[in-house]
Each structure stands twice: as structure tokens, then as C-alpha cells.
Amino acid sequence: MLERLGPRRVLLIAALAAAVLVGAFAVQNLAGSTVYYLTPSEAKDRGVAVGQTARLGGLVRAGSLRYDERSRDLRFVITDGRSDVSVVGNGAPPALLREGAGAVVEGTFAADGTFRATQVIAKHDEVYTAPTAGATPSHRTGP
């Protein structure tokens, strides 16, 4: 049967089989084990060591966002609803970082349990709407 198909068609069937196999393995393993960030609860459960670089993701707790323009001191609390972590950063926050919205921070835990962020990333959702009449977009680009 293989002789009748010819070498190229056998190669095609082998390549298709390889594609399906690799795809199935990749999806199964990537979907289960890729960790871009830990939630505050996961960081607590795993016991991330002091000084070890980690990424935390969650919501910026309402009423916790403080930025001092003179000292460039940025402070907020990141929460997943169960655990909270106080984040201390340096530098202006991304324009879309706001209370109640998502954020991802990269950095290390200090000995006092606060998280020293070297990078603060705002997470935004996939919803786009026009501003309501009279309102300006909350994030304005340009000067």
C-alpha cells in the first residue's frame, strides 16, 4: 500500500501525524503549566522566598493607589479577593493602572512582606466603547 502511495504522500501522512502529535502535546502541557504570574494567594502558598524574582497578578484594591510625583514613590495593594500584597514601586505608573482594574508586577518580596516592584504592568480588558456624551476618555494620549 505504501509503495502505491509514493514517497511524498507517505511523507505527507507522516508530517500530518507529527503535527497532530506535537500540537496535542503542546496544548495539553502549555495550557496546564504556563505561569506568567502568581496570584497573591498562590505566592503565599508556594512560599516565594525573600529576594527571589517573581511576578504577581491581581486587582488593584480600591482606595489603595498612591503615587507621589516628587519622590516618584508608587504604592498600592494587589489582591485576588483572598490575599493582599502591598506593592512598593518607583516611577510613574502606566496610564491605565487604576483601582479595581488588573495589574501585573515584577520584583521581589522584601523581608517585611512588601513586594518591591521593578516593573508595573497594567492589564486591560477586551471591551471597547465610545465615551459617553460629554465625557473625555479617562486615558488621554499625548501632551
Binding site: 505527507l12 508530517a15 502549555l30 506568567y36 516593573q119 486591560h124 471591551v127 471597547y128
Partner: protein, 243 residues
Amino acid sequence: MIETTFSRGAALRAGPWLGIAAAASFAVASFMALIWAPADAVQGEVYRIIYVHVPSAWLAYLAFVVVFLASIGWLWSRRPLYDAIAVASAEIGVLFTGLALVAGSIWAKPTWGVWWTWEPRLVTTAVMFVMYVGYLLLRGLETDFARRATRAAVLGVIAVIDVPIVHLSVLWANSLHQLPTVLRAAGSPALDASMLLTLVVSVAAFTLVYTYFMYTRVQLELARQDRLRAAAESPRAQRPRLP
């Protein structure tokens, strides 16, 4: 021995019209994206990059699926036209994957706050870019036409698995990239009707540009195949001299 059933005459006549249609739809899409569509309530004007970013990513998917189908075509039937389609689509796909990455990066800086981060969607897209650059490099390694087409086709069949992986990567837990806006799992598209229409027109315009590029590039490749064949069959030069 090797024959193509591609009608050159018809293609030459269709080419300019495709080009005109692509340019015209691109002008309409630009007007809608830059002026007609409203600004976003949260992001303001910067969200308009979506009208370049999403169609570019769509074209990358489309181009690599076409590479996949053409690769199957070559392996199954040995018609050189399929190899011409595969190389044309791979080149255009690499171009638009690069454009999607660059546009995404420019969008990420003012919204997320970073140019790049090692997030699943971004990583899988970068892998896709590198794989198809590798596909084009692989084609340069072999000078024999049939062997080159076969080797490239095997990679063209296998590499396509990254397309669904890129698309599904945003659904994995703990990613940064936003979820699909139009092809949502539940409910209707999460954007205003005018924004959705602009996005649909942009995707259509980019697809026409792809079709025009494909027509032109496939013609070039078929002309190159003709030259190779003529050189190989010429009694004066048994071994074609390669540039």
C-alpha cells in the same frame, strides 16, 4: 514533464484590478479607523492601533494556513504551482506577523506600560515568527527544485500547529493579553457597532492586500520556475548556473 495549469493571461488581467481594489479598500479603512470610529472610553485614541494589529494577526493566521494547504498540495500532487503558493504565502505571512508584533508593541507601551513581556500570547507569536523565518531559510539551503519543495512542505505542514496555539494562548490562566473581542466565547462582540464595522472593513482591506500580494508574488515565482526549467532543459547548459 512538469506542467502548470495556471492561466497567465487571466492572472495578468486580474492583477491591476486587485491592486486597485486593495488600495481603495485600504483608503476607506484608513478613513474609518482614523476619523470615523469613535475614541475608546478607557484608552482614548491609542486603541486605534487595533485596526492595524488585529488585521495583521489575522493575515498571519490566514497566510500560514495557506502555506499548510499548499504544502499538502505539493506533497500529494507534485504540481509546482503549489510550491509557488507556499513560498509566496510564507513570505507575506512573515511580513504581517512582524507587523502584528511591532504594532502590538507600540500599543503595549502606552497601555500596559511595557514594550514587551514574556506573556503566553507574545511568546507563541514570536515563536511563530521565528519558525516561518526558519521556513524561508530552509528553502535557501537546497538548490534542487523538487527536493527543496518537499523539505519546505514538510515544515509547512508541521509549523501550522502554532496558529491555533497562538490563538488559544490568551485563554490559558494567568496571561496579560486581552481576550478575543470579536470571537468571544460568550455573547456578542464587546465593542461598539461602529468600531466593529471599522474592524471588519480593516480586516477585509488587509485580506485584499494579501490577495494582491499573493497574485503578484506567485506570478514572480512561476516565472522563476520557468527560467529554471528552461535552463535545465537547454542542451547548451546542462547544469543551470545559479546567480
